[in-house]
């Protein structure tokens, strides 16, 4: 009688998993971004959707074009979609659509593919795409508009053809962000406007209250580690409190709610790939980030600096990881 030999399956731990995969994690963050996207639609009309769509298209198209033929397709796990969403939501509303798509291309190509794919990149891809756009098109990237135009109307720059100079004077519809106002005109925006978000700024960063809620939901669902964002916010509050106490600079409440800080703290600082992996390292990352943000906002030339400071701290991350590596007991 020919019997199959008994089979012994041997595997290593973990034996009990919660079914958490890359795609799963990415989808949870994408769900958290949907309310932010709806708020952007509410404030800036249909252009918000167009800009975010162009950025997503650029990012996902690049991911598909530059995929490694040997490895499984990474498009379904949603990481490219998430990068595109994050990039689109950090762009100013009146940016030409081709620039948004180009930003998506740079984010994936320079931010992820050349580093060896998802998990190997040391800089946040979405922020890298935005930093590239900021360096290449400083005018388009600093043209902010106030919310509250009719839903279906487009800005004159939205459909500008690639590489041509749009022949519209941006002054006709532009307005400053709260940080720009206080930096260049010494004009303070009321905190309730900052909380609700009917102010000038990038698409997704205006509504501080919504971002806090999204962040809390993600933190309680343990999608990200709460240490780095909390350390960032604490550090901003502490530094701006100290400076406002001594030099009369803007108070912590304004610092906390304005600009890209909350969007960065909730969606960028929590990127598991580009921030330190040790708890101590995350505290260092957050504290350093908050300090730099406050210093550059008050003394620097670019008040919307959260992007650059996060990229700078990303650059320090390998060093932070090395120095906070826990020693094995007795080692």
């Amino acid at each position: 009688m020919n019997r199959n030999p008994p089979q012994l399956h041997i595997s290593t731990s973990p034996f009990v998993t919660e079914g958490s995969t890359t795609g799963n994690l990415m989808r949870q963050v994408i769900y958290a971004l949907i309310p932010v996207l709806i708020a952007a639609l509410w404030f800036f009309g249909i252009t918000a959707l167009l800009v975010v769509g162009a950025a997503c298209l650029g990012a996902m198209g690049t991911e598909w074009l530059l995929r490694d033929k040997q490895t499984p397709n990474t498009l379904p796990d949603g990481s490219a979609l998430l990068t595109g969403l994050l990039l689109g939501l950090t762009l100013p509303p009146a940016i030409p659509l081709w620039m948004a798509a180009l930003g998506g291309f740079i984010a994936i190509a320079l931010g992820k593919v050349i580093w060896g794919g998802l998990g190997s990149n040391l800089f946040n891809p979405a922020l890298l795409g935005r930093a590239f756009l900021q360096a290449a098109f400083p005018e388009a990237m600093t043209t902010w508009v106030a919310p509250g135009k009719s839903f279906f109307s487009l800005y004159p720059t939205t459909l500008a053809p690639p590489l041509f100079k749009a022949d519209v004077t941006v002054d006709s519809f532009s307005s400053a962000t709260p940080l720009g106002m206080i930096k260049f005109d010494e004009q303070l925006t009321a905190l309730d406007h900052l909380l609700i978000g009917n102010i000038g700024g990038s698409l997704g960063e205006t509504s501080a209250g919504l971002l806090v809620i999204c962040g809390l939901v993600l933190a309680f669902r343990k999608v990200f580690d709460w240490r780095a964002p909390l350390a960032t916010l604490l550090s901003v509050v502490a530094c701006s409190f100290l400076l406002s106490w001594i030099f009369g600079t803007p108070e912590p409440g304004f610092m906390l709610l304005s600009g890209g800080l909350l969007f960065g703290a909730v969606f960028m600082v929590t990127d598991p790939v580009t921030t330190p992996i040790t708890p101590k390292g995350q505290w260092i990352f957050g504290l350093g980030l908050g300090f730099l943000i406050v210093v550059i906002r008050i003394y620097g030339g670019l008040p919307e600096c959260v992007m650059f400071t996060i990229l700078f701290m990303n650059a320090l991350t390998p060093l932070i990881n090395r120095h906070t590596q826990p020693r094995p007991f007795g080692g």
């Binding site: 050349i114 580093w115 794919g117 030339g301 990229l311 700078f312 060093l319």
Partner: protein
């Protein structure tokens, strides 16, 4: 005093020699493979830059007013000579320090960053103290760039970088991205 602080931070972060002027790229790419060599190269850089600053100041004060057309050649010769002499002196007096800086001293003496420092210092009419602070900031900035680069490259070694960009191309990409990140410091303390 405020002026000195501005000179220091400007050379350290805002106008970082490597990442915003693109000077001294050879040591930046050459020895950023390991963290300890990067640190030692940075220390040697600070050392040579300090000597350069003193030399340039002395030349500008006593020699060059009489012969302005000799500026470049004077800088190169005097700086190289002084560094060589100092190297011999260190070798005799402190073998430990020589072991640490050792090979790097003659290597960077003729680097563009060193000559750049001397020329910037001359063009901006820095005095002795200002020049010294400028040299410390610039050397510190180079060290910072080297150390960050070393950390990133070490991490990147383990990644499966596509064959197309492996090696030097990847290092240039990293340097460009770092340069982007340093753009955020533009205009820092400009009003003070």
């Amino acid at each position: 005093m405020e002026n000195l602080a501005y000179i220091f931070f400007s050379a350290l972060l805002i106008n970082n020699f490597t990442l915003s002027y693109f000077l001294g790229l050879c040591p930046f790419f050459g020895v950023s493979g390991r963290l300890d060599t990067a640190l030692r190269m940075g220390a040697a850089n600070i050392f040579v830059m300090t000597i350069t600053s003193i030399c340039a100041w002395a030349l500008n004060t006593w020699v060059l007013p009489h012969a302005p057309y000799l500026r470049l050649i004077c800088f190169i010769f005097v700086i190289a000579g002084t560094v060589q002499l100092t190297e011999m002196l260190i070798k005799k007096l402190s073998p430990v320090l020589f072991k640490a800086l050792g090979i790097f001293l003659p290597l960077i003496t003729t680097n563009c960053a060193i000559l750049g420092l001397a020329i910037f210092q001359t063009n901006r009419d820095y005095g002795f103290l200002e020049g010294l602070v400028f040299a410390l900031g610039a050397g510190g900035g180079l060290t910072l760039a080297l150390v960050i680069m070393a950390g990133i490259r070490r991490e990147n070694e383990l990644a499966s970088v596509p064959d197309l960009v492996k090696g030097t191309a990847m290092n240039f990409f990293i340097a460009g991205i770092l340069s982007l990140a340093f753009m955020g410091f533009a205009g820092l303390f400009a009003t003070t």
